[in-house]
């Protein structure tokens, strides 16, 4: 009887998860896959075909955008890690008590407002008639208005800023669990700052680094707003191309094919990172 009850409880608990995954993720994806595998012949007539994948893989423009998005997302992840690591280390190890909480809050506060507002903030700062441009002229470093928007570098700043928090939080959590005495022991045994960092701190922080990197990479790869608003006329982000195909061109078939390419790309890169660092998904996430 009790076994019976616990089974019912198990299925009851499982239902929301199954519904969530099934209705919102698996079924739409199957539908997308089917859409991506058909070709429009004429009004309302479709035939199964691989032509959209072929087009996506042979048209140089689509391929270029695909790789550009991948490489820039990896770069954004690396820069985020480089900036976030010292910040997280300071918050977790050097700062104590109140200061620690205040610093952590300071990281969190920008995320109280929506991404759109934050991106507009950057636009107000960096535009030709914006704050930074006027400041540079006032100081005398520039003799006419400087345009800082609409470049790849600006876009990179936006991407790093947007995803900073998602790197800092897992890093702080893992670094906090590192016992100070282990670091002291490292120094006592004659280690230099660099070797302590390499032999003790980074290996301990590895789960945080990997999970932070995965989240930041996925966020950058799937970001739509930042590249569109800050990137300007040369920036074509892969998500923007998906939006264009679905909404502007009404070409759902190609858009769906792009969507699957993006899904495969992110899966492959995440799998590759896990393999490279010798971790399993279970260790990293759990």
């Amino acid at each position: 009887m009790r076994r019976h009850q616990s089974r019912i409880a198990f299925f009851l608990l499982l239902t929301p998860l199954v519904l969530w995954l099934g209705l919102l993720i698996i079924i739409p994806h199957i539908d997308m896959l089917l859409i991506s595998l058909r070709e429009r012949i004429s009004f309302g007539v479709y035939e199964p075909s691989l032509t959209h994948y072929e087009k996506a893989l042979t048209e140089p423009l689509y391929l270029r955008t695909f790789w550009r998005t991948a490489v820039m997302s990896v770069l954004a992840t690396a820069i985020t890690l480089l900036i976030a690591f010292p910040v997280a280390y300071y918050i977790a190890k050097m700062a104590k008590g109140r200061l620690q909480q205040v610093l952590f809050m300071l990281c969190l506060i920008p995320f109280y407002v929506s991404e759109l507002v934050r991106t507009f903030g950057w636009m107000i700062l960096l535009r030709e008639t914006g704050l930074v441009s006027n400041l540079l002229q006032w100081v005398g470093l520039a003799d006419r208005p400087v345009e800082l928007l609409y470049t790849d570098a600006t876009m990179m700043v936006g991407l790093v800023y947007t995803s900073m928090l998602f790197m800092v939080v897992p890093l702080v959590t893992t670094l906090e669990s590192l016992d100070d005495s282990v670091i002291e022991a490292g120094y006592d045994l004659g280690g230099s700052g660099l070797s302590v960092l390499r032999e003790i701190i980074i290996p301990h922080a590895m789960p945080g680094i990997v999970s932070g990197c995965i989240v930041v990479f996925m966020l950058s790869l799937g970001n739509y707003l930042t590249p569109t608003m800050l990137g300007g006329k040369d920036s074509l982000w892969f998500t923007e191309m998906i939006y264009n195909q679905f909404i502007v061109r009404s070409n759902w078939e190609l858009g769906a094919a792009f969507g699957f390419m993006l899904l495969i790309l992110s899966s492959v890169i995440v799998w590759g990172v896990l393999r490279l660092t010798g971790r399993t998904l279970k260790e990293t996430m759990g």
């Binding site: 009004f43 270029r64 008639t129 345009e147 569109t228 300007g232 264009n244 009404s250 070409n251």
Partner: protein, 353 residues
Amino acid sequence: MTRTILLASTVLAGLASFAQADTLRLLTWGGYAPDDVVAMFEEQTGHTVEVTKSNNEEMIAKLRATGGGGFDLAQPSQDRVMGPQMEFGIYKPMDVSKLNQDLFIPSMLKATMANTTVNGDVYGVPHVWGTSGLVINTAEAGDVVKDYTDLCDPAVAGKVSYRLKRPTLIGFAFAMGEDPFAAYDDEAKYKAIMDKVEAKLIECKPNVKTYWSGGDELMNLVRSGEVTASMAWDTGGWKLNNDNPDITFVAPASGALGWIDTFVLPAKGQADDVAYQWINFVMQPEIAAKITAAAGNFTASAGADEFAEAGLKAQYQASFPQEAIDNIKWYPPVPAGLEAIEGEVLDRVQAAN
């Protein structure tokens, strides 16, 4: 006794009007259903109106995703009715006899109905019309920019903005001496024209500050002086003109591009009668004038001009001398397949260095 009957009849009447009160889910553009007009309609008819603001592409994508459901009345441009209807069947035929046709400007009603007829059924009637052309700071770029292709002039380098969308392609094609509308039925010829436009747009790219995507974004760029010449709608130019008399809308030498936004019934709309009531309501001259004031564009309502604001009329007359009106190129219905060609051109322009 009489009191009881009175009370009962009042209650019954109340119930009856309650049963008839419907919700009109309206898919439209910003400014086409101003709050005061919605309030007046709700008060007169007892129906409620839910307004969703959108643009051509999103309207069609939304209706396509639901097979024409979710809305009771939509307002795509007249060139976007025939193609999507043939392709996806997202609209339902309109019973024009339920409309008060005297409220419409006859020529515009006739043209729109002809352009939105599929298999003998009429799918759309006109509502708001306007043009796109050049919005220019005349003090700085007025002497240089007279036509779309002048946006590529070195004198305005870095001070130019336009959209990467089909109006830009069409406008440039006209300015380069081609007639893209005449080539609508000839895919090979249309592609040749678009290839020429693509080469021009890529050559022109260093001149462009950024490709704008939202009206407000462009307004900020022009108002702050960062952009002195751009491709935009007439209303955008006139709005800016109110703040800065130097900035205004100019009809390009090769002709402004004219569009008409329509009323169509989505295929799975559930309140057709309310939709017809709404159309008849907003086409009344006084109401149409209110919409003109909110949207900045004139409507297909006959006689609404009398009620329009004097300032807007003056701006319109300054931008459109008679020969410029005669030179407006009205969009014909887009045949299927052309947008794929245009899409590839636009992608290549955006990715070009």
